[in-house]
Symmetry: C2
Subunit: 111 residues, 2 copies
DNA sequence: GTAGTTTATAGATAACCATCTATGAATAGG
DNA sequence: CCTATTCATAGATGGTTATCTATAAACTAC
């Protein structure tokens, strides 16, 4: 007796063998993108990239962005946590600069 | 009488003339990135790009992602609203495909 | 028409997040 | 020591969102 493979095209049948992106990897990428997907943080990153030496301190940003110092500090922390900003203390000031390598790796996700 | 510009380097003085990215533009970009900055939607986009003809319907995704149909539908709507997915109805099914141009424009934001 | 299948919507809930005010910690200069 | 400046943290609040169940809408086939 010959067994036939029944192809039921009237039912929804996802392509077999197609595995979704691993959830852990998706979570990692999403965390990175979440850090950038905020209007204020986009403005912050643009402002830092705009500066002469590509760095800025918190107090440089409160004025132009019209936000309180704790709010800016909150955003700097978010960006630092994912590695997009690196912080360096020079006396009273903390200078933040953009991690260009990670910045470029985001671009590669969409190529 | 000559007026001197007083340079007080002990105070925080943001570089004059440096204007932040326009808030409206920042909001637009953030909306687009927010749509992508979700682990489930990253998996959805990867699955669609993985398919043979780069398209998929909702019912193809519920199984592999382990989520309910309304949840998938919710995510498809989010992605469609920002233009990252386009929907085409063929009979009972709705086929979604990725807008490659917009996809590439995201990459350009990080170059 | 009825029945089955796929997609969309409505409503609820729990979790998350951007912002504020108030306060503390760290540093520099007297 | 004290004062001033910069940055970080804690707590509160209003808004957003990812998920579910239940239900409706759209389409196909009989």
């Amino acid at each position: 007796m010959v067994t036939r493979v029944q192809l039921d095209i009237s039912q929804c049948a996802p392509t077999p063998g197609v595995e979704p992106m691993a959830r852990t990897k998706a979570n990692e990428i999403a965390s990175l993108l979440k850090a950038v997907a905020d209007p204020t943080r986009l403005q912050i990153l643009a402002l830092i990239n705009q500066g002469e030496n590509s760095s800025a301190c918190t107090c440089d940003l409160t004025g132009p962005l019209g936000l309180s110092q704790p709010t800016i500090s909150h955003h700097m922390k978010k960006l630092t946590e994912v590695g997009l900003l690196s912080a360096e203390r020079r006396g009273t000031w903390v200078h933040y600069s953009v991690n260009k390598e990670l910045w470029g790796q985001i671009a590669e996700l969409f190529e």
